[in-house]
Assembly symmetry: C2
Homo-oligomer: 344 residues x 2
């Protein structure tokens, strides 16, 4: 049995030398390499941007959507939307584990969710069983491969799949907060009322403790009210994060000029880099979890205002992130209830 | 005398609420606010991307270039190229210091270089004296403003202007290396043969010491040879950083599988994120100084290969960066000589 590259380059057909995510086409032959895991797929959770593009292109016709998805997978060997470049994730059952991965804490029959994108996952669809256009989920008969470097989470028995997936989707964020926030710190969370923001606020509060301070900046009054009701922040500011001077002045007032030790940016609109940068104290840290972040706007922006701060590109993976995030649902029933209402 | 916002928002004409860098138009009336510095400008160092666009649009005709530059500044109050969005920097003499900035270690008559971009600097051009189309420099009679948050460097007496500017342009890079690299570390520098790379390699070598290891990855054979001749690296790999698997395999071999503690990315082409990520060890740090870095490619890329690493957005400003970088020229005559040959 052959051993593959840990990053999956052995399955790249075109262009040679690239990695699966950026490849145009990968090999989805379901014959296992010695360091791969074979999954019997149950459901594809298609990335929202991708599914929206497909729905629009197919006029919401399920038959046409089904054909388009099958065609993408046939052409590319993976479900990576050629227009948006995005993928999504999947859940299924472990069918086989290559001998070089026998040491993993995993067994055949385990139900798992992939935590690496469908945009790099070899996939074969035998049959599309159902398409749910509300939740962007596609139930299939089919198989997929996880590479040695791939990450996954065994689905918990005590949390329903949909809830678990909603949390796993953003598990990196609270895990990074756990690493960055220390007792007594002042933490700013921009976009605190969404899925990721709520988990980050919870973890920040937990780490900063009684002597710390969590300030949430939210655009939506409803999300802000939610944070207040859950008691997840010391202060909630309803403001537009694309207006940096206003955000800066309000945080200056709230912190009596001290600003924040750590700022977490979770928003999903553009141009919120300067709000994040201005409210960070000298030698503080900004953690950009938002995929709408512009590298150059952040880099040049901080330099342009003479802010000597560390700006981190959000890494969706941190060891232990799945367990930490699912545990938040277990520790905080009010957050579990919120997620159940929003995401089930 | 009125006091302005430290970030210069008081001079933003359009759109209200934004900061000078992103503003369409700023106020270039040369009446000082109490926390501003007035500069008598000598030379504009126009950003390369900007000047190339202007030259092309004007068919290299100096008269037309002059008119275009004056027009941009009249319309916008600053020299920010409306097509590229970039600026550059300037050198001049301090003409006045607002009373609220009297504490600065600066006096009227000091020769300074601005370290914040022309894309946010209020500028008034009275006359264009000379245009150098080779060096992208424009000598003028005119004035400019630095805000309280702005950064600048007093030009050294022992280093000629052009040399000092070439170094100051990338001063943030070696300064960040100084903070990140500790004794005994293995440091990877991708794009090690250019201006920034050479200074980073020097500083990395200095900090890592005898027990450390500096590995440079360079695309150009000539730049690679330069690094070898200067003795700035323990190993030099000539490779294409857009081919991550090849770079990874070579660094794996060189480090006997240990990979790098810190990786610095200085290249100026796209798609080198994965090379940087793959050669970083678990819990290591990648520092992206390259303005060609894509936030999403880095964020999703690291997650996609299960790399638990910290990725930092290069901040061009670090306290003391100007002095640290100019001192490299003083400490290392061979580097000064190289810069003199390349940039004078």
């Amino acid at each position: 049995m052959k051993k593959g590259c840990p990053f999956g380059s052995h399955r790249v057909i075109e262009p040679k030398g690239s990695l699966p995510q950026s490849a145009l086409k990968i090999d989805n032959t379901m014959e296992l390499y010695s360091n791969e895991i074979l999954i019997k797929v149950q459901t594809l959770n298609v990335d929202s941007a991708s599914f929206t593009q497909i729905k629009d292109a197919c006029n919401n016709d399920k038959g046409r959507i089904s054909e388009m998805i099958k065609k993408i997978v046939e052409e590319r060997g993976k479900l990576q939307n050629p227009v948006t470049g995005s993928g999504g994730m999947l859940i299924g059952t472990v069918e086989a584990i290559g001998p070089d991965l026998a040491h993993l804490d995993l067994k055949v029959g385990d139900r798992i969710a992939t935590l690496v994108s469908l945009s790099l996952t070899p996939l074969k669809i035998d049959r599309i069983k159902n398409i749910n256009v509300e939740t962007d989920q596609v139930d299939i008969e089919g198989k997929a491969i996880i590479f040695e470097s791939g990450i996954y989470a065994v689905l918990p028995e005590d949390i329903p799949d949909r809830l678990a997936l909603a949390v796993l989707d953003v598990a990196g964020a609270p895990a990074q907060v756990e690493r960055l926030v220390k007792k007594g710190m002042t933490v700013g969370i921009i976009g605190g009322g969404g899925k990721s923001g709520v988990l980050c606020a919870y973890q920040a509060r937990k780490n900063a403790g009684e002597t710390g301070k969590v300030i949430v900046v939210e655009y939506s009054k409803e999300n802000a009210r939610r944070i207040e009701e859950l008691g997840l922040a010391d202060e909630v500011i309803v403001a537009d994060a694309t207006k940096p001077i206003e955000v800066y002045e309000r945080v200056m007032a709230l912190t009596k000029g001290k600003l924040c030790d750590v700022v977490i940016n979770n928003v999903n609109v553009e141009s919120t880099e300067m709000s994040s940068i201005l409210i960070t104290k000298d030698r503080g840290i900004v953690y950009f979890f938002s995929m709408a972040t512009s590298f150059t706007r952040a880099a040049l922006g901080a330099e342009g205002v003479g802010k000597d701060i560390t700006m981190i590109i959000g890494n969706g993976y941190a060891r232990g992130h799945a367990e930490l995030s699912l545990n938040i649902l277990r520790e905080a029933p009010e957050i579990r209830e919120l997620f159940e209402n929003l995401y089930q």
